[in-house]
């Protein structure tokens, strides 16, 4: 099986994530799209690791999963704190800081 299709898929996933971060308004969906971008990187790493017959890429991908989990925990924590403060959960309305 040709490995390049996996790379095409990972590039599409990355693009989907990037577009999602740019156009979606809910911070929760933005977090999901960030995960998509990181996992696109993981897929590329694993594909290359397989092509090269080298384990380093897989180790890298495992560690990235842990890091991605950390980021989501922090993101959800901040969103919950914002929700409790009755801050609108819409990134277009987060504009107390402008100028």
């Amino acid at each position: 099986m040709d490995m390049s299709w996996y790379l095409v898929l990972s590039a599409l996933l990355f693009a989907t994530g990037a577009v999602g971060v740019l156009i979606r308004r809910s911070p929760l969906v933005i977090l999901l799209c960030l995960e998509l971008m990181l996992n696109a990187g993981n897929l590329a790493l694993i594909t290359f690791s397989r092509t090269l017959g080298d384990e380093e890429g897989q180790v890298f991908a495992l560690i990235v999963m842990v890091i991605a989990a950390c980021e989501v925990v922090i993101g959800l924590g901040i969103i919950v704190a914002a929700y409790r403060r009755r801050i609108p959960l819409n990134v277009d309305e987060l504009r107390a800081l402008r100028g």
Binding site: L7, S10, F14, G17, A18, V21, P27, I30, L31, L34, M37, L38, A40, G41, A44, L45, T47, F48, T51, L52, D54, E56, G57, V59, F60, I63, V64, I67, C70, E71, I74, G75, G77, I78, I79, A81, A82, R85, I87, V91, L94, A96, L97, R98, G99
Partner: protein, 520 residues
């Protein structure tokens, strides 16, 4: 399958180990009720021990943990700058509302975690340890930015930083994946070897990968056009965190950038140095123009940070040893002068109810000389006036650009500096020329001290020659206030001292740059 445990040099790894152990201790002790001032003291002592270990290892040059980290003076120099910034941020955070909300223990532990990430990042010699260091640096900072959990702006800045920082990380990761695919290794040395063997300079994986790495790191370093988050986050985050973030992140990330681009991507320098030069010029232009109309001093410093990052990037673009030397000198000088300004911002934020607005500084030249002078020196150094280390730092950078035939980049730095005077001098005119506005109602005591007692104390003290925040009255008051003002005075004094007699700092920067020399 045979598995061989890596050989670990514990002496070389000792700064990382000390920080990790200290982080756990601070976090656990923070769960108990302790005397006020104990947690910051514990955090400071962990930082002092780590700094001591860094100085002890100064001069060693070896690869740690099978090439994951590289112990050399360049990495240690960045680590020392980060540790100094963290120490000042800890002093500024004593009785700060954000640190009170988070708990001084958690605040200190997060700060130490971020410093740990910086130490790892500055020493990273492998794409994997680079990424871990970068995330370990960023994730605690997201929390610290949002740590004033009762302030809407702090939460907003935390969320913005998280989203934009993660986009940067994901882009960087994708770039790393492509680079790994093209070269077949994650180690800087092996990558350089694969790239140097020819045929890969035009490879599309390498080109796209390098571009994505540039973008990802530009997000982290707040380089234009990836800087939009900087002013918002700087303004919204608690001021001690902003101070730490502004100087320490830059030091670690720039040193890591130098190592990545000059060691791993050195053989394909033609692919990236024009792109980085363009980013540097755009940053200088956008940062300086953006800062012109700002009324919030923290926002202004955010934009000025974008411009300063552009200046520093010139030191990377030239890809010479003089360039790295100028960069390390600039990072150290930048750390001192920026912290001197942030001390004044923290003090005035607590004394007045105008926050970090420029009007909060009106007339403090006469009433608060101990804050006004460090602020003035810091601002003049940022503007690069002679007699301060900022001047020497800019001189070295311009010299490095001219030497490497990037004279136009040097010209861009000079023009940027001229424009920057417009907004730097605005702060100084507020401090020295304008009169202190008569308060319409009695000034509010700072949130920090809290309670009616602090308010009474604040009013009774009057405003004549008290250089302390009024809200700090309490068992820790005078002591804490001396620490805060003292930190500012030390930073300002060092800025002037290295401006008049720069030799020690120059030698330090040269040693750091030379440790990278074999690979240049």
């Amino acid at each position: 399958m045979d598995f061989q445990a890596p050989t670990i040099d514990y002496a070389g790894l000792s700064p990382v180990i000390a920080l990790t152990a200290g982080l756990c201790i601070v976090l656990l002790v923070g769960l108990f009720r302790t005397a006020p001032g104990f947690m910051p003291a514990l955090t400071l002592s962990v930082l002092a021990i780590t700094a001591g270990l860094c100085i002890w290892q100064w001069g060693e040059n070896e690869s740690l943990v099978e090439g994951a980290l590289q112990l050399d003076e360049l990495g240690l120099a960045a680590a020392l700058i980060a540790i100094f910034a963290a120490a000042v941020a800890t002093i500024l955070s004593i009785r700060e509302p954000s640190a009170q909300d988070a708990g001084q223990g958690a605040f200190g532990a997060l700060l130490l975690g971020s410093v740990l990430g910086m130490v790892i990042l500055a020493q990273a010699q492998n794409l994997l340890s680079f990424f871990i260091g970068l995330e370990l640096l960023s994730i605690p900072l997201y929390v610290l930015c949002a740590s004033a959990i009762r302030r809407e702006r702090s939460l907003e800045s935390g969320l913005k930083y998280l989203v934009i920082g993660s986009v940067g990380s994901a882009t960087l990761l994708y770039g790393f994946a492509l680079l790994y695919g093209a070269t077949g290794s994650t180690e800087f040395g092996a990558i350089a070897q694969a790239l140097g063997s020819g045929g890969l300079a035009d490879d599309s994986l390498v080109l796209i990968g390098t571009a994505m790495i540039c973008v990802g790191l530009a997000f982290k370093l707040s380089l234009a056009p990836f800087h939009q988050w900087t002013p918002d986050v700087y303004q919204g985050a608690p001021t001690p965190v902003t101070a730490f973030m502004a100087v320490a992140t830059k030091a670690a990330a720039f040193v890591a950038l130098v190592r990545l681009f000059q060691v791993a991507l050195g053989p394909v320098a033609d692919d990236w140095n024009t792109a980085l030069a363009a980013i540097a010029v755009i940053s200088i232009a956008v940062g300086n123009v953006g800062a012109l109309g700002q009324d919030s001093v923290k926002r202004l410093l955010g934009y000025s940070g974008v411009a300063q990052a552009g200046y520093m990037l010139a030191g990377v673009v030239v890809a010479t040893q003089t360039g790295v030397e100028a960069l390390v000198f600039y990072l150290a000088a930048y750390c001192l002068m920026n912290l001197a300004i942030f001390v004044a911002v923290v003090v005035r934020e607590r004394e007045t109810d105008r926050g970090d607005d420029i009007s909060a500084f009106e007339g403090i030249g006469r009433s608060r000389p101990w804050i006004a002078w460090p602020l003035t020196i810091g601002v003049l150094a940022l503007a690069g006036l002679p007699g301060t280390s900022g001047f020497i730092a800019k001189l070295f950078l311009i010299e490095a650009t001219v030497e490497a035939d990037y004279t136009w980049l040097g010209v861009a730095i000079v023009i940027g500096t001229m424009v920057s005077l417009a907004y730097y001098l605005r702060i100084l005119s507020a401090v020295w020329i304008k009169d202190e506005p008569a308060p319409a109602q009695p000034p509010l005591p700072a949130i920090a001290g809290g309670g009616p007692l602090a308010r009474l104390d604040g009013l009774e003290e009057g405003s004549a020659d008290v250089s302390c925040p009024k809200g700090s009255a309490g068992p820790l008051g005078a002591y804490r206030c001396a620490l805060v003002v003292g930190a500012g005075v030390i930073c300002a004094a060092a800025t002037v001292a290295f401006g008049v007699y720069p030799d020690p700092l120059v030698d330090w920067a040269t040693t750091a740059a030379e440790s990278l020399a074999p690979t240049l």
